[in-house]
Subunit: 250 residues, 2 copies
Amino acid sequence: MYTIKELADLAGVTTRTLRYYDQQGILPPAEIGLNGYRFYDHSSLLRLQQVLFFRELDVPLKEIRIILDRPDFQLVPTLQSHQEAIQEKARRYQELLGTIQKTISSLQGEENMTEKDYFAGFDETQYEEETRELWGRTSQYQESQRKWTSYSQDQKDEIKKEGERITARMVSETPDTRPDDPDVQRAVGDYYAYLNQYFYTCEVEFLRSLADMWVQDSRFKVNFERIREDGAAFVRDAVHLYCDSHRENS
Amino acid sequence: MYTIKELADLAGVTTRTLRYYDQQGILPPAEIGLNGYRFYDHSSLLRLQQVLFFRELDVPLKEIRIILDRPDFQLVPTLQSHQEAIQEKARRYQELLGTIQKTISSLQGEENMTEKDYFAGFDETQYEEETRELWGRTSQYQESQRKWTSYSQDQKDEIKKEGERITARMVSETPDTRPDDPDVQRAVGDYYAYLNQYFYTCEVEFLRSLADMWVQDSRFKVNFERIREDGAAFVRDAVHLYCDSHRENS
DNA sequence: TCTACACCTTAACGTTACGTCAATGTCAAG
DNA sequence: CTTGACATTGACGTAACGTTAAGGTGTAGA
């Protein structure tokens, strides 16, 4: 058992950070004393280590919570994925070191650089660590990655657009349509087909859990709320209806 | 000449970022058109590159501005210092990779870890990149580093405390004392001696520029404002008076 | 010439992950 | 029995932008 300060000192963070993590549900204490004191144990320590790894990899705390709370979360595979992600970060640093060398040479008139060269290594998005970390290493994610990376950029853009079109139909701009509206239900069906075609072969139950996630995760949520009030909840209801009626009899 | 979007795309940042940097005086455009449009040139590009390097090294924008605006700022030495700092960051990643390996082994019962070992590599302050970058590579900084690192931790703590005691005297808690108060002036003299003993041999003019910095840089400023209202300005005035009366005749 | 449409502007509020008080309660040591 | 180091819950502050709103500008094509 550790007090809050003991754990904080061990991990090199402040007590305020640990209280914040508690408040956000990321790292609840193992026990709370009658005096209200927080007490942590060894599993807290391991969880905090995970939090710090994800934080190091620029994963927002909200996502960290979701990842760590997933029922299929596994420690060792996650640690291995951290390993890859950190190695990727290190490679980015190598590129930055190259940029420094080139810039020095070019300032001394020894080398020519294009404008782009001055900024090689700065853009983190090129190293696409986010998606990889977000989904973890489930087999579903792996399949999606395999399919997805086989497309060209133009194809990817087109697939995304199609997804947006179907999504718009699912949310249905007109405010008086209900989740059981035939057009909406047809759109849900199209989305299910779309998923299977471009991402992962999945059962309708997976679609159901996806829709649940859209409601919980505000990053997805906003996409629906933009189109209609409580759009995410609307879509969730529509998807649930769809899944209910397509359960065994498919 | 680049438009704002052209430069943003080159550097992999958003136009909002460039506008923000303009607003903060970190990267003013080379030219502003009659229509209010911002235009950037090659020197802007080099300056932006510097900003991004410092940002990469977690230097706050306020400090970046101060560093880049220093009259003795030099591009090539700064690039070299970036190189060292980035290598240090890479070393930290190596330690994190070690922590991952150890954690995996210990989870499989192959290795024993102390609690501390679980967090090896997370604490950036151990790598003290900040001070190094803040002061740049002036000779004064180097001397201060040489002196400072030769002390033990206990000595360092004691020296810091003494500095705080003298500082308190310089600011003078009692609200009706003036900057030319004899006690205050004596405290300034003591601080000058303190500086020379523990940090760098310097002339009074250096003390003057230090005091000016205390007013500008809010990180130092708060230390004085805590003690008395407008404490930083008060100390600056006191120091200026002291320096004026100790100019040539020392 | 008109009209898209992609670009530009300022203004202002929102966000994340804490830092930093303030006011108050708790506990082990001398 | 009183320090002093620890703990608690608010609550406001901060950095570095993201985002949206409301509008002005420039040019390519019908």
